[in-house]
């Protein structure tokens, strides 16, 4: 796959279709891959990588890149195409300036999950028939492949590209909620008592260090000036000085992307404290689906976002009282 992508990138650079390539650059270790823009075939040959660890969603970079001179080639995984489309819809990405090549998606691997097994000194990771063989400073370790799959890939919602100019590999299918199980955890929480839910979220959100990684990586969070950075908003803050601020930041963050979040899972991927932030977004998605009909943000560029829309027969907020457990 990587080979085909490199060839495609070099070809499109050579024929002048694009003047830059958005992809991933190899790092110091097997897993520390950085999104990068390549301008020459030499750079691509040297550093371009696409493997089990190229999980980063590069769509958000295109907000800036698509406003630069010339056209850029972007390799987008199925999940990334949803983010891309949503940004096109919100006029954040200039579509004409991006040449989208759809590439197969994951599952990608999560180095943190390997480390959480106590495996340290990772030098090399190989998947051999469902077993990860990990070469470490302390000898070879193994673990089941599926246990190292990135959280966001475990509950993949779609292997279908919703936008592309060209496709490498075969097109996949949208995965149903039943098959992906992506709402299972939300449902589990919904079935807890209020006290249990409260305790769960206190435990999780109290870990927050307000590094803003979740916000800054989020392809839906592209505000010119975030309300949390704007002293005039009345709610700006830097570090949570009280548990309220931890709650508020995450409620508002999720609310601001409600109906726009494509469920790309980047927020939870980057959280240094492993807070399952995607559950908040998924709660909104699940509610929107249940209350206002199935809606997948980023699926198209024309439909009205559920929060900018209404139906005269919408349910009342009292529905909250009728569902689940108090």
């Amino acid at each position: 796959m990587q080979e085909a992508m490199i060839n495609k990138a070099k070809q499109l650079l050579a024929d002048g279709t694009v003047n830059r390539v958005m992809g991933w650059k190899r790092g110091e270790f097997v897993y520390d891959i950085t999104p990068a823009v390549f301008e020459t075939a030499e750079e691509i040959d040297a550093d371009f990588v696409c493997d089990d660890f190229t999980a980063a969603n590069v769509s958000k970079y295109l907000v800036k890149e698509s406003r630069k001179e010339g056209k850029i080639l972007a390799f987008l995984k199925p999940c990334d195409t949803y983010s891309f489309n949503q940004l096109v819809k919100e006029h954040r990405i200039v579509r004409e300036n991006v040449y989208v090549v759809g590439i197969p998606g994951g599952p990608k691997l999560d180095a943190e999950k390997i480390k959480a097994k106590g495996i340290t000194g990772i030098l090399c990771v190989k998947n051999e028939n469902g077993t990860l063989k990990i070469d470490t400073l302390y000898g070879e370790e193994t673990m089941p492949y599926y246990e190292a799959i990135l959280g966001k890939c475990e509950t993949c919602k779609s292997r279908k590209h919703v936008v592309y100019d060209e496709l490498i590999g075969e097109e996949g299918e949208v995965i149903t909620a039943e098959d992906s199980g992506r709402f299972d955890m939300v449902e589990k929480l919904e079935n807890m008592t209020a006290q249990e839910r409260y305790d769960f979220w206190r435990e999780q959100l109290s870990k927050c260090i307000r590094c803003n990684a979740c916000r800054n990586v989020c392809p839906a969070c592209t505000c010119e000036n975030c309300v949390f950075d704007n002293p005039a908003s009345g709610i700006s803050n830097k570090a949570a000085a009280d548990s309220f601020e931890e709650n508020m930041f995450h409620i508002i963050r999720a609310f601001h992307v409600a109906g726009r979040c494509t469920d790309c899972g980047e927020c939870s991927r980057v959280c240094p404290q492993n807070i399952p932030l995607h559950l908040l977004n998924r709660k909104f998605i699940k509610d929107i689906n249940a209350f206002y009909g199935e809606y997948q943000a980023g699926e198209d560029t024309t439909s009205r976002a559920p929060l900018n829309n209404y139906d005269k027969d919408d349910c009342e907020p009292s529905i909250v009282h009728e569902r689940g457990v108090e």
Partner: protein, 339 residues
């Protein structure tokens, strides 16, 4: 050397906790470690290090500085400072231990930050030598020997025993208070462990990372480097690197209206944030490139320039594993060195 069997660690922690509050790295459900107050049942983590560094104990993420109360149209300033209690941080790694000396250079020089100072005075640092360094470790780059950690008390483990050595008066006092538990013992097994660790250290992927091309005199060489553009391109501008960093020491001061008074507090700030240098007249660092450059220039050039060549990094590797897009100081150093 004074030692205690690992099996008796609960007894040891109970004894410490009976005198002062004890904090130590403990495992969280999610497979990561964090400092936690010791109480019955809390186990010392076997992980290499905590997500958040130990700097939190002396320089917490938020801290109240003063309060103002308004009575009618009068304003009263209230000093909210309370004498802090003595506390012990157990199991600090060599990198984090070194970070305290770096923070001291910022906060204990004139004008002394008395909030920081008070905490330093009340805290006893018990370090723990590393035995299983990770691929992200590069403390050696900054002259740190993880098998010989600093701190008020240094501690080693060979798997069977914890060995202790006091480095300061405070540390000595601490060990004295535990004398009934500690026994003198042979260190042969420990030396063997250290030797093994040293062998691993020499094989670390980042063992060769060197500071020789960096330092206070490199301002002109690197400030205008063309590499910054490419390096900072993918930076999200989040504060993860800053907030997991044991040596980052910047803060913002803000006022919060509680409804019955104003709380003046400080909280960590990050030079990666767009409003970090925002002033009344504007912002001198307008792009992520400038902000990104600042962070690394500070650690590799400005800090040594002002602190006798000491770098503002301890090689703990937290930013290497936590940066959402895996951009970090090692990559920056290597890129800058590439001419």
């Amino acid at each position: 050397m004074l030692r205690i069997p690992v099996a008796k660690s609960d007894e040891l922690f109970a004894a410490i906790a009976s005198q002062q509050t004890l904090y130590l790295p403990a495992d969280r459900k999610d497979g990561q470690a964090e400092y936690r107050k010791w109480e019955e049942g809390v186990k010392l983590s076997s992980r290499l290090n905590t997500v958040r560094s130990a700097k939190d104990f002396f320089f917490p993420q938020t801290e109240n500085l003063a309060e103002f109360r308004m009575e009618g149209k009068k304003i009263e300033v209230i000093d909210i400072r309370k004498e802090s209690e003595d506390f012990v941080i157990f199991g600090v790694r060599a990198c984090d231990a070194r970070s305290f000396t770096i923070l001291d250079k910022v906060y204990l020089v004139d004008p002394v930050d008395t909030f920081y100072q008070t905490r330093r005075e009340h805290g006893t640092v018990v370090t723990m030598a590393c035995t299983r360094p990770a691929e992200t470790c590069f403390c050696q780059t900054f002259g740190i020997d993880p098998t010989e950690p600093e701190g008020d008390v240094s501690c080693w483990s060979d798997g069977s025993y914890y060995y202790f050595r006091a480095n300061t008066d405070k540390g000595q006092k601490f060990l004295d208070s535990l004398s009934s538990l500690l026994e003198d013992g042979d260190t042969a097994a420990l030396e063997e462990t250290k030797a093994k660790t040293k062998e691993i250290l020499s094989k670390l992927p980042l063992a060769k990372v060197s500071t020789e091309n960096f330092g206070g005199d490199k301002l002109n060489e690197y400030f205008r480097s063309e590499k910054w553009g490419e390096l900072s391109e993918s930076c999200l501008g989040c504060g993860t690197c800053t907030f997991v960093c044991p040596t980052c020491q910047c803060y913002d001061i803000r006022d919060f209206d509680t409804g019955h008074g104003i709380q003046r507090f400080r909280c960590w700030d990050s030079c990666m944030y767009s409003d970090f240098t925002k002033m009344a007249h504007g912002n001198p660092r307008l792009t992520q490139l400038e902000r990104f450059r600042q962070r690394f220039m500070h650690k590799l050039v400005y800090f040594p320039a002002n602190n006798n060549g000491e770098f503002g990094c301890v090689g703990c590797g937290r930013c290497l594993s936590k940066c959402p897009i895996s951009m970090n100081i090692v990559k920056v150093m290597k890129a800058l060195e590439e001419k």
